[in-house]
């Protein structure tokens, strides 16, 4: 009997492994192999007209922080790329913070509608996804440019006498990032608030908590899984954003995504682009690790 059971067990395990094979194959072919290629490229020399020369070199990583003198090969510290990383991180954090501030009340509003109306609100939230990100970003350009909707209205109303420059500023990039990624914040928070038992809020009121205390002591802690997920879903793509800063920043306010694209494009330095990507990925992974650790601790404490 037990022998039969163990045989059955072994067969089950083999079948499970077989069933998982397609998924594993897809992950290896589409995820792991390209990633390994990027890692390998970052340790090679760049070809003269793009591409790489199969020769080991740490040059790409060295040039992240140092500038090599053209004539005597001495290295001098150059924080230009580091600054871009830091600026990108700041954009990522600020975008996440604004999305959270705007997204939480939005999700709360949606979750407190009658059950039969909620799906309509979710549908409305997904409308931006019906069109391409590029199209939406260009639409934002039309709204905020000097002759755009905002400036025209403000001038017509007499609030301004000459247009305020909004396009090609940090503000424009931030607006674009928030606009692009806000739904990724709202949806997970909505999902956790929708499951929230509002009788717990009543219990809070009953036990002498005021509205703010009910929000901070009961609703937010219980919506935390949604808040963490939403923050990751906004922070990660915002950190690697490419189209938004390129179009709304006008090339003068580079983010790391644009810098990477530049290396594979006109700069023809594939190893440097690969090195940027690897460092970016490590930053994102560290940030996620930090985030997960912190939310894990709260659950246990």
């Amino acid at each position: 009997m037990s022998e039969l059971a163990s045989l059955q067990d072994r067969q089950d395990r083999r079948r499970h492994r077989l069933l998982a094979l397609p998924a594993i194959l897809i992950m290896v072919i589409l995820g792991l192999i390209p990633l390994m290629i990027v890692v390998v490229y970052s340790f090679l020399k760049s070809g003269e007209y793009g591409g790489v020369v199969p020769q080991f070199s740490l040059e790409a990583y060295v040039s992240l922080l140092f500038q090599r003198d053209m004539f005597d090969d001495t290295l001098t510290f150059s924080p230009a790329y580091l600054e871009i990383y830091i600026r990108t991180a700041i954009f990522g954090v600020v975008t996440t913070a604004i999305c959270l501030l705007v997204g939480f009340p939005t999700a709360y509003f949606m979750a407190t509608r009658p059950a039969d109306k909620r799906n309509l609100w979710v549908l409305l939230l997904t409308i931006p996804f019906w069109s391409n990100l590029l199209v939406r970003t260009i639409a934002v350009m039309f709204i905020i440019r000097d002759e755009g909707l905002i400036n025209t209205i403000l001038i017509r109303l007499g609030v301004l006498d000459h247009p305020v420059t909004l396009l090609f500023t940090n503000f424009a990039i931030l607006l674009g990032l928030v606009y692009s990624f806000l739904p990724f914040m709202v949806l997970p928070i909505y999902a956790s608030l929708e499951k929230f038992d509002f009788r717990l809020a009543e219990a809070g009121f009953d036990l002498y908590a005021n509205r703010l205390q009910v929000l901070t002591q009961i609703i937010i802690p219980l919506a935390k899984p949604g808040i963490v997920t939403g923050s990751i879903l906004v922070f990660v793509p915002a950190f690697g954003a490419y189209v938004t800063p390129l179009l709304l920043g006008g090339g003068s306010h580079l983010m790391i995504g644009d810098l990477i694209a530049l290396q594979f494009g006109s700069s023809r330095n594939w190893p440097l682009g690969s090195a940027f990507s690897i460092v970016l990925m490590i930053f994102v992974m560290l940030a996620l690790l930090f985030q997960i650790r912190r939310s894990g601790q709260v659950n246990h404490g």
């Binding site: 038992d197 009788r199 717990l200 009543e202 219990a203 809070g204 009121f205 009953d206 036990l207 002498y208 908590a209 005021n210 205390q213 002591q217 009961i218 802690p221 219980l222 935390k224 659950n299």
Partner: protein, 367 residues
């Protein structure tokens, strides 16, 4: 305002509900209810679901505002106060424990919101854990507890701020029978130890009878009768109360005379009985009398002043048995007999018996 909800002399509040109405759109959930609840009383609102008892409780807690009328606590009008400004706590039907907090954090939540110092909170939490006999559960997650334990924590959490009034919204309905029985005794003990006024909502008449000092029976948003368990069981005010509380036999008849709180009723099925009357019953005319199953006696068929019946079914309950019998005119009767050890089985299905109604036990209802 905060101080009114804090530690005070351990004495329960007296509540006056004055002409309270509650409308939800076109539906009137609570119809002109007036109840006076005494200090330190275990008061039960009893009724079927949808009778307005929970709505009334939610108005006491402050979750709903009365459409009309006033609610006084120790003479002060609290109708307009929000829940967090009322020295009243609630034990919710589903317990509503905070899942992200430990047992101790749950119990201490009310005191924390009142701004009590940490040391005082810690000692009160310990005291409450002792009170509900879960001394060692303080650090556990509430999600690890069984239903009965969650129930006790919900009680401890609501009692910790020492409210003047504790509201209990069908708190035992999710527990199994055995646990429910022991929690009934536990609740009564807690009420006596803490000397807090308890208002208990239930649809379970047995729960109401075993625990309450007084019971208000509600139906259709109205209070039909207020009285002690004994009064309500023995002297139901109307047909609904009689039928809702315990098993009851209804018999039709004609009132032929009344004197000194009793009346003579000529029953349609034959015998004449002397039954107790409420003051407001007319001195003659068609009436219904209620007789509890345990008040009926089985006698030899054909006995004088008894009515013959046929045994249809005998249901055995351990301590007693119910004999379902049918009279000649088709009326069903339930008779309850206590089982004594060694007693013979006696009756069998289809047997002819006589049923006697002893004088002055049946109650005449006003129709």
């Amino acid at each position: 305002m905060k101080n009114s909800a804090s530690h005070q002399a351990a004495s329960g509040g007296a509540v006056s509900i004055l002409g309270v109405l509650k409308d939800f759109g076109n539906f009137r959930a609570v119809v002109d209810v007036s109840i006076d609840i005494r200090s330190n009383e275990f008061f039960t609102l009893l009724g079927p679901s949808g009778c307005g008892k929970t709505t009334l409780l939610r108005m006491l807690a402050g979750f709903e505002a009365p459409s009309a009328g006033r609610i006084l606590l120790d003479g002060a009008d609290i109708s307009a106060l929000p829940p967090n400004k009322r020295p009243i706590n609630t034990v919710f039907q589903n317990y509503a424990l905070f899942p992200h907090m430990t047992v101790a954090e749950n119990i201490g939540f009310g005191l924390k919101m009142l701004g009590k110092p940490a040391a005082e909170i810690a000692s009160t939490v310990d005291e409450m854990l002792r009170l509900v006999r879960l001394e060692h559960a303080g650090n556990r997650a509430v999600t690890q507890l069984s239903g009965g334990q969650q129930q006790r924590i919900a009680l401890a959490r609501a009692l910790a701020p020492r409210p003047k009034l504790l509201l209990l919204d069908e708190p035992l309905s999710a527990l199994d029978l055995k646990l429910r029985k022991s929690m009934q005794i536990e609740l009564k003990r807690l009420q006596q130890e803490t000397e807090i006024t308890f208002i208990f909502v239930t649809h379970d008449q047995e729960e109401a009878l075993t625990m309450s000092d007084r019971i208000a029976v509600m139906n259709g948003g109205k209070v039909l009768q207020i009285g002690s368990a004994h009064e309500i069981y023995e002297h139901p005010a109307d047909r609904f109360v009689a039928g809702f509380i315990g098993e009851t036999n209804f018999l039709e008849g004609e009132l032929t005379g009344s004197a000194g709180g009793a009346g003579t009723v000529q029953l349609r099925c034959g015998p004449t009985v002397e039954a107790l009357t409420a003051k407001s019953v007319a001195s003659s005319g068609a009436v219904t009398i209620v007789v509890r199953p345990e008040q009926l006696e089985v006698v030899v068929p054909g006995s004088p002043q008894a009515v013959d019946a046929t045994v249809e079914q005998i249901v055995y309950f351990g301590t007693d048995r119910h004999i379902h019998a049918r009279l000649g005119d088709g009326t069903a009767l339930t008779i309850r007999q206590q089982n004594r050890p060694g007693a013979k089985e006696g009756l069998s299905q289809g047997e002819r018996i006589g049923v006697a109604i002893p004088p002055r036990v049946a109650q005449i209802l006003k129709d």
